[in-house]
Symmetry: C2
């Protein structure tokens, strides 16, 4: 395809130049200060990357704890907590700090996530004053380590069905916590095997013989280093990665905690044993509590993008200096990045990473707004649900992107990429579980799709199929079908694009409005189609489970399309807002490369649905090749602008 004429305009193309520090400032945005603090800390403690290989697992875990505590002392990990307890009082900054921390050793990152995000977040958001006063000052410094004990061996995704039970004993004013069987043991719990003194334990609350659903309790796991009575802990042992984090399993055998151990922000039990909650609906109550998870998902989404940045920084720098093969015998060998194939392998991934960065800015800002002043969690329910859907979708796309990027970059660095002294071994093993933890990606995408089907009218709850079908068979599906007609889309693009009904044939490929219209058309078409399929299944009186199972691939396709549209919009908006200059021009190329390579990857769908002719499809592939050639001279500057500290690249064979 490359030999055909490019579809670029005939006007002279001026290769943009990038001012790297200026572009870094754009990318760092309002959080440049906290990001630079973290970059400094990463450089100070960069020896942890070597220690991860050299130390035994016990010593490595201790070292990770030590680094976490030292970083906590600089303020970087406590940004999300209220100032009165020693925190920074800035939720957005806490996410930005976490994103930046993901450039370094990922055991440190995940231990920070467990301690300050999950454990600390649960105390902060589910607890009340008594819990805040008792625990926040200690946990913010890292002196008081804790676990977030939700997942069980038998229940990772469907946490509403957890098996652990907490029964209220009104005689003593205590909860009695019990693990009924091995399926209900807590599993993969960070900090549990070694360091946690406390755990926030999620269990089915039983009061007066009646189940009130899942609630959270503060339970001491260890005192003076010894496991508390009635508690059994087992080490999860070595993992594919993240071996600096001490994951473990916990069983509870009639463990008694005082009534005040219930994190009682949304529900409480009176001393006499009366259950009280301001939220009547048990489902709504449960998913309001789960709102604490949204911060974790936004964090992991950002971390995934950072992992991709590290891998691409190493692989791009390597490709810009490594030579292999030449034009002929005796001639100098050619730099890898000058090969068309190598450009095709790396440059669209750089573009997508920039796009995800822009989209991460949006979701972080939404989180900050919803959670600032602590009002959000009870505030605008609709805004919260939209945030939760966006966070779930971004987490899935960003972490799959990371897995794909690390793999492609390792292969692009050949045998040297396989040596542990270079960073891919750690990056790959450590980041692999990102696609699973904080919500399995496939499950998260189904939640995203459900939000779209119900127009966010329902609680952002689990995958209860009957519940879903109930909503869909009601008003929502008609609304969805009406709202997503091709006619409506056309109305919206008419003012933006030439060509009227033929907008998809007339518009220039490099017109962002064309690219966005393509993403929007795909999403709306998938949404309408899915709603119709579900409705048809229900009209035929088929079992909800069977209907749901058979449309599952549509569900996933819809959710992916939705999130990809959000990402594209975020990137287009970011580029438009930049002042004219080399940076804007360079990001404009990347934005085109992201959008067109995404459309190219799904061109079969666009052809099948009448929005791409064969000629135009081929033109898009040519344009992607052309964009790769234009981005190639900028590649090293573009990865440098991410500002991954050189001390943590740790790829001596690859980047010198």
């Amino acid at each position: 395809m490359a030999l055909e004429n490019s579809s670029a305009p005939a006007t002279a193309y001026a290769q943009p130049e990038i001012d790297v520090p200026a572009l870094t400032a754009v990318l760092d945005g309002e959080y440049a200060g906290i990001r630079d603090l973290v970059r400094g800390n990463l450089t100070t403690y960069s020896s942890i990357l070597d220690e991860a290989d050299e130390l035994g697992i016990d010593a490595y875990r201790e070292r990770v704890r030590e680094v976490v505590v030292k970083m906590a002392a600089t303020g970087q990990t406590g940004m999300g907590f209220p100032v009165e307890y020693g925190g920074g009082g800035d939720v957005g900054a806490s996410i930005a700090a976490f994103e930046t921390l993901a450039f370094g050793d990922l055991s440190v990152l995940v231990k920070v996530g467990v301690q300050f995000g999950l454990f600390g977040g649960a105390i902060l958001h589910l607890g009340t004053g008594r819990h805040h006063e008792a625990y926040l000052p200690g946990l913010i410094t890292g002196e008081l380590m804790g676990s977030f004990a939700m997942t069980e061996t038998g229940h990772g995704s469907n946490v509403q069905a957890l098996g652990t039970v907490a029964t209220y004993d009104s005689a003593t004013g205590e909860f009695v916590i019990t693990t009924p069987d091995d399926d209900a043991r807590k599993d993969y719990i960070g900090n549990a095997a070694r360091h946690a003194e406390l755990a926030v334990v999620f269990a089915q609350l039983e009061v007066d013989g009646r189940s009130q659903g899942v609630h959270a309790f503060v339970v001491p796991l260890r005192t003076g280093g010894r496991t508390a009575p009635g508690i059994r802990i087992e080490d999860d042992g070595r993992k594919m990665g993240l071996n600096g984090v001490d994951n473990g399993r916990i069983w509870f055998d009639g463990v008694r905690v005082p009534r005040e151990a219930l994190l009682n922000r949304f529900a409480d039990v009176t001393p006499e044993g009366r259950y009280e909650s301001a939220i009547d609906d048990p489902n709504r109550r449960f998913f309001t509590m789960l709102g604490t998870l949204v911060q974790g998902r936004v964090s992991v989404a950002g971390a995934g993008t950072s992992v991709a940045k590290v891998a691409l920084t190493v692989a791009t720098k390597y490709a810009a200096r490594r030579r292999q093969f030449g034009a002929g015998q005796g001639s100098e060998e050619q730099v890898l990045l000058d090969y068309g194939l190598h450009q095709r392998r790396l440059l669209p991934l750089i573009a997508r990473t920039y796009a995800l960065h822009a989209a991460q800015d949006v979701v972080r800002t939404q989180l900050h707004e919803v959670f600032s002043g602590l009002s959000g969690i009870e505030g605008d329910a609709r805004a919260r649900r939209r945030l939760e859907a966006r966070a779930a979708g971004m987490k899935a796309l960003s972490t799959w992107h990371a897995t794909r990027v690390v793999q492609e970059c390792r292969e692009a660095c050949g045998g040297a990429g396989y040596l542990a002294v270079n960073r891919f071994a750690a990056l790959k093993g450590d980041s692999d579980v990102f696609t699973t933890f904080e919500g399995d990606n496939h499950v998260l995408l189904q939640l995203v799709a459900k939000g779209l089907l119900t127009d966010h009218a329902s609680e952002f709850e689990g995958l209860d199929q009957l519940g879903m079908v109930r909503y869909v068979t009601g008003l929502a599906v008609e609304t969805v079908i009406e709202r997503t007609s091709a006619h409506k889309l056309l109305e919206r693009v008419r003012d933006l694009l030439p060509g009227g009904d033929d907008w998809d044939r007339e518009a220039g490929l490099l017109d962002p409005e064309y690219q966005l219209a393509m993403f929007r058309f795909r999403e709306e078409h998938l949404l309408a189609g899915l709603a119709r399929r579900i409705k048809r299944g229900i009209d035929q009186e088929r079992a909800a489970g069977a209907v749901f199972s058979q449309v599952q691939d549509h569900v996933i396709a819809l959710a992916r399309s939705h999130v990809e549209r959000l990402v594209a919009e975020a990137f287009v908006d970011q580029v438009r807002a930049l002042p004219e200059g080399g940076g804007k021009a360079a990001l404009g190329l990347l934005c085109d490369l992201f959008a067109l390579s995404a459309i190219e990857a799904d061109r079969a769908w666009f052809m099948e649905h009448g929005r791409l002719t064969v000629q135009r499809s081929k033109a898009i592939s040519r344009e992607v090749n052309d964009l790769c050639r234009k981005v190639r001279p900028l590649a090293v500057d573009l990865v440098d602008a991410w500002g991954v500290p050189s001390a943590v690249l740790r790829a001596p064979d690859l980047v010198g």
Copy 2:
């Protein structure tokens, strides 16, 4: 799509039943005996899978060596060597043994590959009687460990440009071997860091001031455990995986070896210093020597497929018993494998693994025929080149498949899949480098495409671009364009498919002739298109390097299509040859699932090139869904039939 009517025929569909041992016998084929010997050995030494996690790197390496030597004593690793030196005299059996060994610890596998395949293979195929007598008996038992020192830090793929030099000194009758700079140090060399006493060293031979190209020399690395004078060895250290193999770097500083150290099957130096070879052309000589590598590529191809089998066995068994979510609150949760999405994730991968198994049978048989009696390497050059192309292509597709399967299966097993006690951590880290070693996959596919462009008329050489262009601009390209016209394809399908010019619209989707015609059409169209593009570039007098760089993605697409066509043909042939019964019916479903999901994955291309209408493309997706539902009840039997010993599944949390 799943709610539409299936395109399956209206006649009653009878679900086939599988006799698992009978299907295993079909898959094991003529090598059932050696495969069962290896299965027994894997079970005997299955503790190595735990030891890999528990032992330090030094102890693990020693243990791997020990297991390799003990397995050698059972005869499994020496099958490829002549009987008179203690081998089994059966090349095909040696590959089958290696394939089966890949069910177990992959450090053991790779150490076997280094010792018996690379080092032993070089002595056998490049050496002559004096080398065979001196080394084969010791190396076959594993007592004499050796290295295959080809790759250098600066040259992994372009080995014709190696930097190590061997200068003949006629005064002493010795070769003097020198590493001129760090780029020329030998790197990633298995057995080098610890166990090798000898190495086969590839170096530029200089005789009387004249360079004769790369040749191989037997060089002592250690005597009595001490590094030989003039040699420096450095440990490559920890790797992403395969840490039971002691990879290292080697520098030579004027190391002297006697004239007889030259492996002189294809070239020799007389005592007086005259260079002699029966093969005049230096290129042909070099690539004849490299013929030893073909066995390694066939072996790694088979190992990749075996890795996929292990991962799919674990993930399928887990998916058939793990429950998560239900049709509604209170109802029993649903088995993962009953979800349409989960079927879509796993079952096409099972089908592709079966297809690759069938194709591996073909390439193993070809290898056996070419190499049996040791005549092959000098025998029919054309057959050898076709074998080399097929081996290169199979190695690339099979190892990428393994990487993809391991990743998908790990994610499908959630958090449990991340624990080292289950097998994915080791499988993933250990098999990752398969895509790189024994030839980088992208480089191998370029070699495959070159063979197609030149109709295997040229030597199977490197990616010398001028050489390639020379062939292509000559007779070959015209022949290719003529041979691959749509007209010719049509002639060939006319007798097999109804519909004449409209064969691609009329034939049934489940007709294997239709499926094969689609694969063939794609390959021939890509080949003709690529030939035309190169010719056009040359006609425009563009630099060969630029032309080549810009068509590289076509080159890769062509090679993939070619190999996928070979795989499809092998699978169709295998199924056709089976006796009627449940096994044939089950493999027939898998064959359809493989072919249609491969066409579906590339349906954009088929639509762009007029061979798939939108309606038919959608029908293929529906058919794939339908096939998944039919294969689902057979899934556990299908993975059991691969015969992965239960002792090496090592996934207690996943398969019980």
